[in-house]
Amino acid sequence: MREKIPPLETLHQMYYYMALSRAIDTRLWQLGRQGKAHFVITPAGHEAAQVGAAMALRQGYDYFVPYYRDMTMCLAAGMTARDMLLHVRGAPEDPSSGGRQMFGHFSRRDLNIVSGSSSVGSQMLHAVGLALAFRNRGEDRVTLTGFGEGATSEGDWHEAMNFAAIHQLRVIFFCENNGYAISVPAHLEIGRVGVADKAAAYGMPGIRVDGNDILAVYETVSAAHAQTRAGGGPILIEAMTYRLLPHSNADDDSKYRASEEVQAARARDPITQFSTWLKDQQLMSDAEQQTMDARITQEVDAATEYAYSRPEPTEELLYQHVYAPGRTA
């Protein structure tokens, strides 16, 4: 991998977020099979891309506008296992939505993580609007928005890219290209070109990076962050990745992906790759890994227990937050 290696603490954090995400995800699928979670959508396979991207930003200052697959990104941006379990449970305490949204609609205002809808492609314009606000206020905050390659087919993506480019705003468009929009393969959604190539249409830099290589992503996004922060305009990054599991717990991916393809991708699992490398380079000991893994297990167990012992929402809560308190202007 890279020559310029981040400090040990950063490397361990990277491992921690990826492994935490995988442990939560595994728990979610279990809960799904047990009939305790209605909806599960997975970041499995995208962890390196998401952590590499999130850690390149300034937490608590820069803004995240994620999509439904960005659980790992949100963990690296400060959300917790408990947040995720409350969310999948649909508990009133769920910080993302108060139990109102299906899993995958992460939000915490105190962490600058913006709420999304399920509508593919709708969030990218919000990132551009945030960047416009920061430009007007003279703040150098950077806004990163995550999306799949499938989202680039929506008109809103085009309008977002165009607007950001015209005003040279501080936006990082972070595409996680896993080759499929549910079942539809890339050549039927984005044609013969890559997503990074589409940046040229807006006079924007477009960079392709191996999304399985966390350090490559971290370096690429760090450089992009420095550039856009300095006023260099928006940047499109295409992290090449793969979804290791079905689209969601409602999907049967065997209908549209050969099992050899999935197996081959599993053999390149970004978390195993990274932990193997860390150990090969003697940057993480078995004991250190075990400590982190144990902490993760404990966190996920505690979070599950907590979330699944919360009360149901009362009917009164249903009517909250339709309009601002007081209602009239």
Binding site: R100, H105, V120, P313, E315, L318, V322
Partner: protein, 327 residues
């Protein structure tokens, strides 16, 4: 007659129309190899190939816009929008383009196309997989809006929609796909667009509804019958343009009206129906026109309890019928 689910009936309608007419083709997200996220188009790709079952990019406006273009020269596209919640990006193409093409060209061009979309709550879909968006399409002349309540109607109406020379928006309740079964003939038949259907005869009050709510209202009416209340149930089937005659005839007979829909009460199509009755059958009314719909919150929140609070169920329907009968 074989018993089919709604889903099977809908799939058969497409299959048979594709076999009958080479101009019919299907397009949408995941409709190909996967057969659609609800499997409504399952097997069609294998049978009719990639030119007639087209997996599209995630671009709803594009899906409908392309369907419009193809329909102009006599193709009969059946576009699937994956969820009714995601029809909004396509609404400009539907309302401003498809619905007005015939009128704006003085009858020269027209858009014989169908847009299918699953709608409705009750499957834990949260705010963005539970919406009832049919009202948005019921105020634009030139457009048909159709919602079936059972497999027989679903198949016959979808066939009629595909053969219709104007654009049809065809909403399918996603909770009805597998839960509702019924006998469906094997011979070719259609159910005419624009005709409501009295699904139950009764004398004390008229319930006007559509979609899955018809099935639930029928159950509620049976319960209420035991208390001696006789309920007539009008299944609109076509929401736009409305079959006024059928509605008014029933109301004039019973004198009491309850309109039920799963969509939120305020702004749902119950308003238009009530208004027509209050204008054209006022002298026949023996009671206020009641509406039962979801409360005024933005769609259906995810948590089971929220879903229960929001979606009108058989018990609430029975209570509303009971209260109105007593008025």
């Amino acid at each position: 007659m074989p018993e089919l689910t709604m889903l099977q009936a809908i799939r058969e309608a497409m299959d048979e129309e594709m076999a009958r007419d080479p101009n019919v083709f299907v397009l949408g997200e995941d409709v190909g190899v996967k057969g659609g996220v609800f499997l409504a188009t399952d097997g069609l790709f294998q049978k009719y190939g990639a030119h007639r079952v087209i997996d599209t990019p995630i671009a709803e406006s594009g899906i409908v816009g392309v369907a419009i273009g193809a329909s102009l020269v006599g193709m009969r596209p059946v576009a699937e929008i994956q969820f009714a919640d995601y029809i909004l990006p396509a609404i400009d193409q539907i309302l401003n383009e498809a619905a007005r093409f015939r009128y704006r060209s003085n009858g020269t061009w027209s858009c014989p196309l169908v847009v299918r979309a699953p709608f409705g709550a009750g499957v834990h879909g949260g705010l963005y997989h539970s919406q009832s968006t049919e009202k948005l399409f019921c105020s634009t002349p030139g457009l048909w809006v159709v919602i079936p309540s059972n497999p027989y109607d679903a198949k016959g109406l979808l066939k009629a929609a595909i053969r219709c020379d104007d654009p049809v928006i065809f909403f399918e309740h996603k909770r009805a796909y597998r839960s509702i079964k019924g006998a469906v003939p094997t011979q070719d038949y259609t159910v005419p667009l624009g005709k409501a259907d009295v699904k139950r005869r009764g004398d004390d009050l008229t319930v006007i509804t559509y979609g899955l709510a018809v099935q639930e209202a029928l159950q509620a009416a049976d319960e209420i019958a035991r208390q001696g209340v006789s309920v007539e149930i009008v299944d609109l089937r076509t929401l736009h343009p409305l079959d006024k005659d059928c509605v008014l005839e029933s109301v004039k007979k019973t004198g009491k009206v309850l309109i039920i829909h799963e969509d939120i009460k305020t702004g749902g199509i119950g308003g238009e129906i009530a208004a027509i009755i209050a204008e054209e059958a006022f002298d026949y009314l023996d009671a206020p026109i009641r509406r039962l719909g979801a409360p005024d919150v933005p769609s259906v929140p995810f948590n089971d309890a929220y879903e229960r609070y929001v979606v009108p169920d058989v018990a609430r329907m029975a209570k509303a019928m009971h209260d109105l009968a007593k008025y």
